[in-house]
Each structure stands twice: as structure tokens, then as C-alpha cells.
């Protein structure tokens, strides 16, 4: 796949159809992937990579390239593709300035899972035929790929590309998944238990804003948490209330627009399962207002900017959320 | 122990609307004396608790023993609030911060050329009044000051009644405004051009403060006239939080404006990266 992508990118560059390519590039380690801009065939030959570690969602990296006269080629995984559709719906990107190629994703490896297993001094990680070979200074180990696949990929919502100019590989399907199981487990707890759970998770937050800045739905020019006139522009949580508030408000602001790409949890340096907040909103929206997947098609109306006269009453919450 | 991050209370004793968007605040401590001693060009952190804290230059001369003055232009959140204050209101101040103009060494015995634009007169006014106080130590003093209009000239009353007073020995004030207006018979035009027109002799020491664009063109003009960068002093301002070179945001290269500045000699400044 990587070679196909490289070849196609070079072809499009050579033909002048596009002048820039947004893809991924490898760093120091096998698992270290940076989104990168390529402008020549040499750069692509040298650095371009597409493998099981290419987690970063490229949809938001197109922002600075949409005012150019010439087109930018962007490779999109199915997740990125949903985010891109949502951004186009919200008029945040200029579709005309982009050339989108959908590429399949076979599940990305979460290196944190490998590290959490106690592996350190990792020199290389190779993913081949469903096995992941980890070579370290302190010995080698082989995992079955599903053991170290990231949570978001294990619960893949869709392998379909809602938008593309060109598709590589196959036309994927919307997947059956168990992504709401964890949410349901939390919902089944008592308020005390839930509170304890979230306190434990959110108290680790260092307010680095990585979740916000990586999120393809967080596209405000000035975030409310950066706006000195909002009264909530705190840089660091001085009190537990503020940790809660930041995450509640952030989740609320992307409610109905979050495509569940899982970037927030991937980038969190403190391993806070932020996707569980977003999934709660997604789950509730599905339950209360009918199944809705943000980024499924261009021009969809987001649930929170929409209503029906027959919407459920808010006391549904008090009744336990059963419609 | 000197608690640099804990301010002291200052009482506003007088507020004067100097121009449509600039107010002059007189501040003393609770004991009626000046909150602290400073040198010309130094700054203080002024704050209204709950609103914010910001660095302002102390515009009064150290030779003024009675009170401290701040000349504040309304342009952001804190300054808007400050403009709403009335005499008797308490604020907090801490300082003094930064270096000062070398009034006691490099300037001594020199002819001074002071160039200011808009509210940029505030920090150099301290120098002017200090030099007027110790008149014998310095040579001639030329002041070129410009603003958008006559109304926008800060300290206009003081300029006319004191600096331009015929009794004042060897102080020449050259005022200019940007555009023609009624009841103004002085010079019209931008400061950089006016400085060139006045064609000063190049043995003067220059002190300059004003908007970045004015500094840029005046500097170029002065160099054209034959001034050396070593003769020119200016004062800088960047966002500051601590005032003591620790919070890490007011640096230009390896220099912190709050600690190593705000007064820079032009040749020192040109060695620093262009990020201000």
C-alpha cells in the first residue's frame, strides 16, 4: 500500500494536478509518526511512510493549505475521511483546494499498550501478517496484532470513506462494533462510582490542551478557554471543578460533531480515556434523536442545531435514559 | 525578605484625562508617600485585583518626592478598567522593575535629543523632568514630540507651561501632529520626517520611544543623518507577567525586557533577533 501511495503521489505531483502532499513521515523510532508536507518526489521517496503506526488524523493539517491556488493532496484513513466530511460540512475547509485519496486502515498499533506491558528500550517494532514483533534492548517479544491494536481500531466504527476523489484499496463497510460497551458499563454504576472513576481519570489532566488542539472538531479561531472575555480562560486547573468543567464543556462543544476518531485519547499524555465522554454524547444522541454519525455525508445537519417538535423531554435523564 | 511577587497597596489620589484616550494617575502608598523609589525609565506592575496586572512605565521623575505617576492609554482589558477608576480607589503596585536610562553616567554632559510619539512620551517624560531638575549636568535638551492630533498630545499643558517656558534654559520643544487641523499653527507631519527636517547635529545622545513603526523610520532617518546606533537609546515593551525575568515571555533572544531592559541601546538591540 505504501508503495502504491508513494507512486500515485509522485504521479500527481509530476502532472501538476497537486503541488503538495500531506502524508506521514517516520522519525527516530518505528512508532514515531509525524504528519508531514511533501513537495517533491525526492522528499516522498525519502520520508513518506504508511504503516500500522500512522495514527495521526490528517484532516486538520489541511487548514493552512486551503488558501493556495494549487491543490493539496491529502491521504485519508477512513477515520480522517469522516472528520474531513464534517469539516467540509462546517465550511472549515475549502473542498476545491484539496485532492483527497482514501486509503484503507487495517487497525493502528498503540505503542502505549506495548509499553504498558513493560516493554522498554524498544529498538524496532515490525508488524507482519497479524503478528507484531517487538525488538528491545532487554529481549524480544511477539504479540498477536489484536493485543496491541489501539482501542479505537478494535472498536472500528467504519472502514468506509464518506468522501474521496480517489480510492485506494477497497470500498469499506460500516462496521459492527462494541464501542458503547464501556459507556454502558459506566452508566450501570452508581453515581458515586462514576464520580470516583472520573475523578481518578480527570485528576491526571495537566491541561496541556493536546486533546483540543488535535481534535478535528475543535476548529474555533479562539477557543473559549483561550478567550480572556469568557471568564473561563484558565491555563491550569486550580481546582478539581475546573478539570471537570474543561472536559465537560469541550465534550459538549463537539457533541454532534465528533466523529469518534479517537485522536483525543491517542494524544493524551496522561492516558485519560476522553473518548468515553464523546461516546456518551454520541450514544445519547443515537438513543434520543435517532442514529446519527457525524461526518457521514456532506451537508448533514448536526443534532444540536436541529430539533423536532416530538423530541424527548429532558426528564428522560431522570428516568434512566430509556426512550 | 523581599517578596517580589507580592504587591503593595497604592492609592490613586488624582486622575486626569490627558487626551481622549489617555489618563494620568497619581499614586501614593497608604502612608501618603511614594510606594517605592525608582530611576527614570523603570517600570512597575500595576494591578487591579481580579482584572489583571500589567507593566507600566513610571512617568513621574524620581525627583518628584510626593507621588508616582502613570500615564495610561486605554487599549486593553486592564487599561479600560483603570480608566473607570476614581480618586481614592486603591490598586496594587510592585516594582521597580528593569534597568533605567543611564541618566547618571552616559547622559551626563551630553546634549540630549528626545524623540517621542503618542503615549511614548510617558517613559521619557521621567527622563526629561529628571534632566530639567539637574539642569547643570546636561547640555542642550531638544524634544521632538508628535501625535495624531493636538488633542492627542499627552502632557500638553505641562509641555506648554513648563518645558516651553521661556525661562527654561536650553530646552527646545518641537511639536508636530499628523494632520492639519484648526487652531494648530505648529508643524504638521510625521515624527521621522520632522526629525530629518530639523537636521540636528550628530553629537547628541538620542532617547526615543513611540510606536514600532515610528522607531523604525526615525532610526533609519537618524542613521542617514550620521547618528551612530551607540548614541541612540530606546525603551521596549512586551507582554510581561512576573517582571523579574522568570515567567519567560518577554524575551528577545536571550535578553528579558523586564530584567535586562526595558531600556536598550540601539546597537545592543540590533544584535538581538528581530522578534518584537
Amino acid at each position: 500500500m505504501q508503495e502504491m501511495m508513494k507512486a500515485r503521489a509522485k504521479e500527481l505531483l509530476a502532472s501538476g494536478e497537486v503541488t503538495r502532499v500531506i502524508g506521514w513521515k517516520k522519525n527516530e523510532f518505528d512508532y514515531d509518526i509525524t504528519p508531514a508536507l511533501f513537495e517533491s518526489a525526492e522528499e516522498i521517496d525519502h520520508d513518506f511512510v504508511y504503516d500500522d503506526f500512522c495514527g495521526p488524523n490528517l484532516s486538520k493539517f489541511t487548514f493552512q493549505h486551503q488558501k493556495n491556488d494549487t491543490k493539496t493532496l491529502v491521504f485519508l484513513k477512513p477515520c480522517d475521511s469522516y472528520s474531513m466530511t464534517q469539516l467540509i460540512t462546517e465550511h472549515r475547509v475549502n473542498r476545491e483546494a484539496l485532492y483527497l485519496i482514501g486509503v484503507p486502515s487495517y487497525g493502528k498499533i498503540d505503542v502505549e499498550k506495548i509499553k504498558a506491558d513493560g516493554m522498554t528500550g524498544i529498538l524496532s517494532i515490525k508488524s507482519e501478517d497479524g503478528d507484531v514483533h517487538v525488538h528491545t534492548l532487554y529481549g524480544d517479544k511477539t504479540y498477536a496484532k489484536y493485543e496491541v491494536t489501539s482501542e479505537r481500531c478494535l472498536n472500528c466504527k467504519s472502514k468506509k470513506h464518506p468522501i474521496y476523489d480517489e480510492l485506494m484499496g477497497f470500498e469499506g463497510e460500516v462496521m459492527e462494533n462494541e464501542r458503547f460497551d464501556e459507556v454502558a458499563k459506566l452508566e450501570a454504576m452508581t453515581p458515586e462510582e462514576r464520580f470516583e472513576f472520573w475523578r481518578g481519570e480527570l485528576s491526571r489532566c495537566i491541561r496541556c490542551n493536546a486533546c483540543r488542539n488535535a481534535c478535528p472538531a475543535c476548529t474555533c479561531e479562539t477557543c473559549i478557554f483561550d478567550n480572556p472575555n469568557s471568564g473561563v480562560d484558565q491555563k491550569a486547573a486550580k481546582d478539581t471543578f475546573e478539570e471537570n468543567m474543561f472536559h465537560i464543556i469541550r465534550a459538549f462543544h463537539v457533541a454532534g460533531r465528533c466523529t469518534d476518531c479517537g485522536e483525543c485519547s491517542r494524544v493524551c499524555p496522561q492516558h485519560i480515556p476522553l473518548h468515553l465522554l464523546n461516546r456518551k454524547f454520541i450514544g445519547d444522541i443515537n438513543k434520543f434523536y435517532g442514529t446519527y454519525q457525524a461526518g457521514e455525508e456532506v451537508g448533514q445537519r448536526a443534532p444540536l442545531t436541529n430539533f423536532t417538535k416530538e423530541d424527548v423531554e429532558p426528564d428522560i435523564v431522570a428516568k434512566g435514559g430509556k426512550v | 525578605m523581599n517578596e517580589t511577587l507580592i504587591p503593595v497597596v497604592g492609592v490613586i489620589t488624582e486622575v486626569k484625562l490627558d487626551t481622549p484616550d489617555i489618563k494620568n494617575f497619581r499614586v501614593v502608598g497608604r502612608d501618603g508617600k511614594k510606594p517605592f523609589i525608582h530611576k527614570p525609565g523603570q517600570c512597575a506592575m500595576v494591578s487591579l485585583p481580579g482584572i489583571g496586572e500589567a507593566m507600566f512605565s513610571i512617568t513621574s521623575s524620581p525627583t518628584n518626592e510626593d507621588y508616582m505617576e502613570f500615564e495610561i492609554k486605554k487599549c486593553g482589558c486592564l487599561t479600560t478598567w483603570l480608566h473607570m477608576l476614581e480618586p481614592g480607589q486603591e490598586i496594587t503596585v510592585r516594582g521597580p522593575y528593569g534597568n533605567a536610562f543611564p541618566v547618571d553616567d552616559a547622559f551626563v554632559g551630553k546634549d540630549l535629543l528626545i524623540i517621542a510619539g503618542g503615549v511614548g512620551l510617558a517613559p521619557v517624560r521621567s527622563v526629561i523632568n529628571y534632566c530639567r531638575h539637574y539642569r547643570d549636568r546636561y547640555g542642550k535638551i531638544d524634544i521632538v514630540y508628535g501625535s495624531r492630533s493636538k488633542e492627542d498630545l499627552a502632557f500638553y499643558d505641562e509641555i506648554v507651561s513648563e518645558w516651553m517656558n521661556p525661562d527654561e534654559k536650553d530646552v527646545n520643544v518641537h511639536l508636530t501632529i499628523d494632520r492639519e487641523q484648526e487652531n494648530w499653527d505648529g508643524h504638521v507631519g510625521f515624527v521621522p520626517n520632522y526629525v530629518k527636517e530639523l537636521n540636528f547635529s550628530t553629537d547628541k545622545t538620542v532617547i526615543m520611544c513611540g510606536p514600532p513603526i515610528m522607531i523604525k523610520f526615525t532610526l533609519a532617518g537618524l542613521k542617514e543623518c550620521g547618528f551612530d546606533e551607540k548614541q541612540i537609546f530606546t525603551t521596549m515593551e512586551l507582554k510581561m507577567k512576573c517582571g523579574i525575568g522568570k515567567c519567560g515571555r518577554c524575551n528577545i533572544g536571550s535578553k528579558y525586557v523586564c530584567k535586562d531592559g526595558p531600556v536598550f541601546r540601539m546597537d545592543e538591540l540590533s544584535e538581538l533577533p528581530d522578534e518584537y
Binding site: 459507556v183 459506566l186 452508566e187 453515581p191 458515586e192 462510582e193 462514576r194 464520580f195 470516583e196 472513576f197 472520573w198 475523578r199 473559549i224 469568557s230 473561563v232 486550580k238 481546582d239 478539581t240 471543578f241 475546573e242 471537570n244 468543567m245 465537560i248 464543556i249 465534550a251 459538549f252 457533541a255 465522554l277 456518551k280 454524547f281 445519547d284 444522541i285 434520543f288 434523536y289 443534532p303 444540536l304 442545531t305 436541529n306 430539533f307 423536532t308 417538535k309 423530541d311 424527548v312 423531554e313 429532558p314 426528564d315 428522560i316 435523564v317 431522570a318 435514559g321 | -
Partner: protein, 144 residues
């Protein structure tokens, strides 16, 4: 603080056109509801931003109730339909984070329903009193 002494602080956001008038009516009809209910008048129930609700809790509210016109009766035609969706989702989220769902409520009270306003408030205060102090979404700095 023992339970029988505990008086909850309740913030009630009331829409200007219906619920605030409803509260007025309750007052002129001399219907009793606890003084612990602090009413904040808003132009429309959909003016209430999630931050308002959180801020109320931060500043020491033990319960927050939002009152608006009955769906279909909004002065601005559709405001309360949006508010309905927002608050449903927000309160569900608060519950998910462990802030008991009984501490938050939405009620539709028209200008003519003074009696309903009083009943609702009495009932809500009773519920929150039983729950006790809000400790999960408070800002300790404001409690000093």
C-alpha cells in the same frame, strides 16, 4: 451541618416571557416556595449556555433548574426546542460524571402557571434537600 439544618441553594434560570412571569404570578398569588430558590432571568431558555449551569454549581449551587415556555410556545418560536436538546444531553452527561441527575431539572412553566411554578420549586427543593450538599461539582475556593 446536620440534615435538618441543610438548606440547599437552588439556581433557577427562568425565561423572561413565560417562566419568569409564572414566578411573578406565584408571588402575587401568595403561593409559597422556598426562599432558597434564586431566580436568574434569561431572555429565553436557549440563552442558557452549559457554562452557566456549571458556573452555578461552581459557585455553590446544590441544584440547578431551567424553566422555559412550553414547547411550541416560545416567544422566539423555536428557542426552547434547542434548549430541550441541549439540556437533555448536558444533564445526561453530568449524571454520567456522577453529578446526580436529581440535581438538574428542566420544567416548562407558562406565564399562567403560577401554581405549577410553586409546586415545581417546592418539589425540586425537597429532592435536592434529600440529596444534600453538592460536593462533586463545587469549587473549593468559593466555599471558604
Amino acid at each position: 451541618m446536620s440534615m435538618n439544618e441543610f438548606k440547599p441553594k437552588i439556581v433557577a434560570f427562568c425565561c423572561n416571557w413565560c417562566s419568569y412571569a409564572g414566578a411573578d404570578l406565584a408571588g402575587t398569588n401568595r403561593l409559597n416556595y422556598p426562599a432558597d430558590v434564586k431566580i436568574i432571568r434569561v431572555p429565553c431558555s436557549c440563552r442558557v449556555n452549559p457554562l452557566f449551569i456549571l458556573r452555578a454549581f461552581q459557585r455553590g449551587a446544590d441544584g440547578v433548574i431551567l424553566c422555559g415556555c412550553h414547547p411550541g410556545d416560545c416567544h422566539y418560536t423555536t428557542g426552547n426546542y434547542y434548549a430541550r436538546r441541549r439540556m437533555t444531553l448536558l444533564f445526561s452527561m453530568l449524571d454520567y460524571l456522577g453529578i446526580e441527575k436529581e440535581r438538574t431539572r428542566v420544567e416548562w412553566v407558562s406565564a399562567a402557571e403560577g401554581a405549577k411554578f410553586a409546586t415545581v420549586m417546592n418539589d425540586f427543593v425537597k429532592t435536592v434537600t434529600e440529596l444534600g450538599e453538592n460536593k462533586r461539582l463545587e469549587d473549593l475556593r468559593c466555599k471558604k
